[in-house]
Symmetry: C2
Subunit: 235 residues, 2 copies
């Protein structure tokens, strides 16, 4: 009993943790089990370590969250860097549009990321890199510094490929009521919204898995890009 060293619980990974492995583990955990499951204790377990060990590699949970933003947005930076930008001088709108939709595709693999980006983008180097590159393309397209500045604000998170939809269903919401009955109740109080819902082929077809609709995203994006083009022409 005294001699019997406890066997290695896992024959695998005895490589020490690094900040990078911690952050990628956090992203994987959020991808697989949702952002709610990303706790220090869960993440430690996922990495085969005790919760307190994480604090050797990351100052606190805020830094962990900020780190996951950088992991995801660096993935975006990589993907958008492969978009051909040689025509940006004459056709900036198409190039920018293509990059933004490519960014959006990356986010589809990390449906939790938009919320975390919104709350932790402020000082993220990867987000700064993204917007710096976007600004460069707009400048090369001929927009003034002022107009580029306005453009960044006007696009906001849409530049990164997502919008925060106000009426998105909860990720694990129960279907509780007969939609037909609900529509009738709605018709009295919200006639104009009812009219829209009734008229829309909106539910189902081109709706993506998370709280954002591809067609509506592109409509809003084009509205803004067209508007910027117009402002650029008259300035």
């Amino acid at each position: 009993m005294a001699m019997a060293k406890h066997a290695e619980p896992r024959t695998e990974s005895r490589v020490p943790l690094t900040k990078e492995r911690v952050l990628h583990g956090a992203v994987r955990l959020a991808d697989q089990r949702g952002i709610g499951a990303l706790t220090m204790r869960n993440l430690a377990q996922e990495l085969g370590v005790e919760a307190m060990s994480l604090y050797y590699h990351v100052a606190n949970k805020e830094e962990l969250m900020a780190g996951t933003v950088d992991v995801v947005v660096d993935e975006i930076n990589l993907v958008v860097s492969e978009v051909d930008t040689s025509s940006v001088g004459t056709d900036w709108k198409r190039v920018v549009r293509q990059r933004i939709l490519a960014a959006r595709d990356v986010l589809l693999g990390h449906p939790w990321a938009p919320d975390v980006i919104e709350s932790h983008a402020a000082m993220s180097p990867s987000v700064l890199r993204y917007f710096n590159a976007l600004s460069g393309l707009l400048r090369q397209g001929g927009l003034s510094v002022d107009l580029v500045h306005h453009a960044l604000h006007a696009l906001g998170s849409r530049a990164l490929g997502f919008t925060h939809e106000l009426f998105a269903p909860e990720p694990d919401a129960e279907e509780e009521a007969d939609p037909g009955v609900m529509m009738e109740q709605m018709a009295d109080e919200y006639p104009y919204l009812t009219e829209i819902v009734a008229h829309a082929s909106h539910n189902g077809e081109r709706t993506l898995g998370w709280c954002d609709d591809q067609e509506e995203f592109e409509f809003g994006l084009d509205l803004l890009l067209d508007g910027l083009e117009r402002r650029n022409a008259t300035m």
Copy 2:
């Protein structure tokens, strides 16, 4: 000792709680001490009651948060209802713009509200009322049902008077570094952003207290409204 009934701890409010008083207390607490201070225990103390008493009036914290959204957005609904809409048939853009800026003014008094709205708007009756009324104005302005639908998505939270700025400073962030030094460091890595910051009269003057800039808000809003007007003309 046995006879001495304990004195009334407060000579004031012996009115029983109601859901309304709970929700308004929650809004007041968030206004005064920030959304982070809005815990069941803090709120109970604010209301002179034990934490568990709140659960008699509100099912759980989610319902509490959803309730604060309705309090704030009902305040918005009241304010925007006072905007003159008689000219909406010929001048919908001005009317809608005015209403949205009025909504924005209400939110300035509740800087915590935008985040809570974004996370709890989904099934809020007051938010539905707001967007229903907005839809009605756009319809009266001559927009098709389809275009109104697109407009709601394209405007998103901007219709309620706010945008979630990605680069907003943390509410209680420390000023940690000399901005001059930071600018130099930035210049190498983010030349285009540096160009913008250097060129902008952006910091200070018309920036509002919270994470949203009035001038940029109006620029983005007009970009979208102008675009909708144009789409309406060509449809």
